[in-house]
């Protein structure tokens, strides 16, 4: 059976099978169709081999991330549990003063929500926009359950006069539709005013844009430092005889294989104020005992530790490109009168650019998303955007905000990944 579908077998057996001008297989089918069929079978077979893994990755990786990102623009914490008030917001345009109908809707929804024990979810949702309101919802909910007499406006204000706060009503209006762009606005330090206009948040609350800038800036610095440190090493390894370079390569690969936490820990030990490096500096008399350098729990610590961790990712692609560079080009340049610097700059360096691009992109992509090292050695000034996402996930529990920040970070990383695929090709990614 397999042989009948094999194009080679088919061609061999068609010699006598020509009847209407079209080539035919031994069993009389047109060769074109037999070939197409055999190719589609081969395609299907190849695809079937990949299918289990593709399904696995889609289910455990792509879909979960998609689901998480959905939270960045979809949050029904308020709208699902406060249907009547949400309806009132839909019926009345922005700027309408809440009338008794609105207060009635609010009281009804609060009662229903308190009875269904979902009032905490509602309060949490509004708490994102107006800090401190979660307890307002829960405490009012408890009292509303005991019964409330109309007129509801007076009754609710009697429980807590914060209910009259226009900021609260504006936040409830924003939350009354489950689909919202507000988390993205907040992620770029913007907010929607009471009248719907978009403005910057107050200066002391502007954190995210600064964090994004810092993340990209530090990643750039780290990429540059890994280039400066990695280039000479890769060049040395590429030009040494094989036996020596293989031995030295171990010095590059050992950090690569060593646990990330181990490497971060050793930098903490080395860089501490009472650590090895400060001790050596004091012993050498470079600094006095009282002026030990603060090299950790700040940006310096993050840069040093991350440079060390990401350096192999720069060296390995550079090395594999430099290995293929023919040394006679440089020799030819020298023989034509170029100085060693000119020969390096005009002849050697341009040939290393593919490796440099691959290494730099990889280091930058990995640096932008780093979490563990900045969390441990970064202090407060060395935190990156990943740490902010983690904080919103575990401390403030503002998951929609975490999702919006994650979406922006992911967009940046995927863009770089696309560039990497275009420039280098994912197939050329090598490990060790």
């Amino acid at each position: 059976m397999a042989n009948a579908l094999d194009p080679h077998a088919a061609i061999a057996t068609t010699a006598g099978g020509v009847t209407d001008g079209a080539l035919r297989t031994a069993d009389g089918r047109p060769l074109v169709r037999a070939l197409a069929r055999s190719q589609s079978l081969a395609r299907r077979r190849a695809f079937l081999l990949v299918l289990p893994l593709l399904a696995f990755i889609l289910i455990t990786f792509v879909v979960p991330i998609g689901q998480m990102l959905q939270r960045s623009f979809y949050n029904d914490g308020f709208s699902a549990h406060m249907p009547q008030l949400s309806q009132w917001f839909a019926d009345n345009p922005r700027g309408t003063e809440p009338d008794e109908a609105a207060w009635t809707a609010l009281a009804t929804d609060l009662k229903a929500s308190a009875e269904a024990r979902t009032i905490g979810v509602v309060g949490t949702r509004i708490n994102y926009d107006v800090p401190g309101t979660r307890s307002l919802f829960t405490s009012t909910g408890r009292q509303v359950r005991r019964g409330l007499e109309p007129p509801y406006q007076a009754a609710l204000l009697d429980i807590n006069e914060d209910w009259a706060d226009p900021r609260l009503w504006s936040a409830m209006r924003d939350a009354s539709s489950p689909v919202t762009g507000n988390f993205y606005l907040a992620a770029v330090d913007r907010k929607r005013g009471d009248d719907g206009s978009i403005s910057q948040v107050e200066e002391r609350q502007q954190v995210y844009v600064m964090l994004f800038m810092r993340t990209f800036w530090l990643s750039l610095v780290i990429t540059f430092v890994t280039f400066v440190l990695g280039f000479p090493i890769a060049h040395l390894l590429a030009t040494l005889p094989m036996r020596k370079s293989n031995l030295l390569m171990i010095l590059v690969l050992l950090p690569f294989w060593t646990s990330l936490l181990v490497r971060t820990t050793s930098w903490m030990v080395l860089l501490q104020q009472q650590g090895v490096i400060n001790d050596i500096l004091v012993w050498l008399g470079v600094i006095g005992g009282g002026q030990r350098l603060q090299m950790i729990y700040n940006q310096t610590g993050t840069i040093i530790a991350m440079t060390h961790i990401l350096l192999p990712f720069m060296i390995l692609p550079l090395y594999s490109v430099m290995r293929t560079i023919n040394p006679s080009y440089v020799r030819a340049a020298r023989s034509l009168g170029a100085t060693s610097w000119t020969a390096f700059r005009r002849v050697y360096f341009p040939q290393t650019l593919p490796g440099l691009g691959a290494g730099a992109l990889l280091v930058f992509i990995l640096a932008v998303g780093y979490y563990i090292t900045p969390a441990l050695v970064g202090g407060s000034s060395g935190q990156l955007i990943s740490n902010m996402i983690a904080m919103h996930m575990t401390d403030t529990l503002n998951w929609s905000m975490a999702a919006a920040l994650a979406a922006l970070l992911l967009a940046a990383v995927l863009l770089l990944y696309w560039v990497y695929d275009r420039m280098v090709g994912i197939d050329n990614l090598k490990l060790g």
């Binding site: 696995f56 991330i65 030295l248 936490l261 181990v262 563990i372 994650a406």
Partner: protein, 316 residues
């Protein structure tokens, strides 16, 4: 790399300066890893060399931090002989963490290696449709920031069937968060790119006509795979598996987000130790892990050379 005979004196000076610079960079790469080894034998709870250590006084060194790795969490650390070791095996926190790390590492590696090798075989066939796009998806767990992956998994594993609601099916089928299965699946996902990369790299030099030759001699596809393909790509598969194992063995972010207290692993225990009160016991663990990574690196290097030899590729 000798200095060419036509080099000017300035170039000679530069050449030696260059070698010194390279030496310093190698020192930067390796010193932080090596320095923790002697420090883990510190007799005092400090992270720097004490005067006694520097004068090589045996009193400055001790194995107390290695002992504390065993005794931490034990019910009766003063017992001797058999009772001590069985207590350590059952109760010591680091021993428990090591057991968890190994269980999770082994199973996630198996899953990643089997699925990854199959997919790599498919991806290496010239007929594979959408090769580039699929490859990009399969490698992405390595590229996407871990914190994003972990957050996505956090929601997904706390209710894996939520999405079935779209098809009108029941949306509650238990949790994967806080279970071994959950952590194993997560780590398999993170290890897969490494298996794909190493195995496809091995298959680049693979001669497809060997498969046809086997088939023409009457071997069925299964026999061909196990008797012809597998032995040739095995070194690549094993190094891919080692990469996947190390990824799982070193992974902490996903564990922080989806594992329960039962799935305490070595990295998570280290993470807690570093964040709370860093003691030289961490350095003792770190030293053990460095020795472990030296062993792994040696294995991978030997495998790579073997692979190049049997495929007839001259070593780089």
């Amino acid at each position: 790399m000798a200095v060419p005979t036509y080099a000017t004196p300035l170039e000679r000076v530069w050449h030696y300066a260059y070698l010194v610079i390279c030496g310093l960079i190698f020192f930067f790469l390796i010193a932080p890893i090596i320095v923790i080894i002697p420090l883990s034998f510190n007799a005092e709870p400090y992270f720097t060399f004490t005067d006694r250590m520097l004068s090589f006084d045996p009193k400055g060194y001790s194995t107390r931090w290695y002992r504390s790795l065993l005794t931490f969490g034990m019910q009766n650390p003063d017992a001797t002989g058999w009772a001590f070791w069985s207590d350590a095996w059952a109760n010591a926190n680091w021993v428990k963490a090591a057991k968890n790390s190994i269980i999770i590492g082994v199973f996630s590696t198996l899953l990643a290696t089997v699925l990854g090798t199959l997919a790599a075989l498919g991806l290496s066939r010239p007929e594979m449709p959408f090769r580039r796009a699929i490859m990009a998806i399969l490698i992405s767990p390595m590229i996407v920031p871990l914190i994003i992956t972990a957050t996505g998994m956090f929601f997904f594993y706390s209710n894996p069937c939520e999405l079935l609601g779209v098809f009108g099916l029941p949306t509650n089928c238990g949790r994967l968060a806080g279970t071994y299965v959950g952590v194993i699946l997560a780590h398999a996902t993170l290890g897969i790119p490494f298996v794909i990369i190493t195995v496809t790299a091995t298959l680049v030099g693979f001669d497809q006509s060997l498969n046809r030759a086997a088939a023409s001699l009457g071997a069925n596809p299964r026999t061909t795979f196990f008797r012809v393909t597998m032995p040739l790509i095995l070194p690549g598969v094993i190094s891919g598996a080692l990469f996947a194992f190390v990824t799982s063995f070193d992974e902490v972010v996903a564990v922080l987000f989806i594992a329960g207290p039962e799935q305490q692993t070595i990295p998570r225990q280290m993470w807690n130790g570093i964040r709370e009160q860093i003691s030289p016991a961490i350095l003792a663990v770190a030293t053990l892990l460095v020795i472990f990574s030296i062993a792994l690196l040696t294995t991978v290097e030997l495998l790579r050379r073997r692979s190049e030899r049997i495929r007839g590729v001259t070593p780089r």
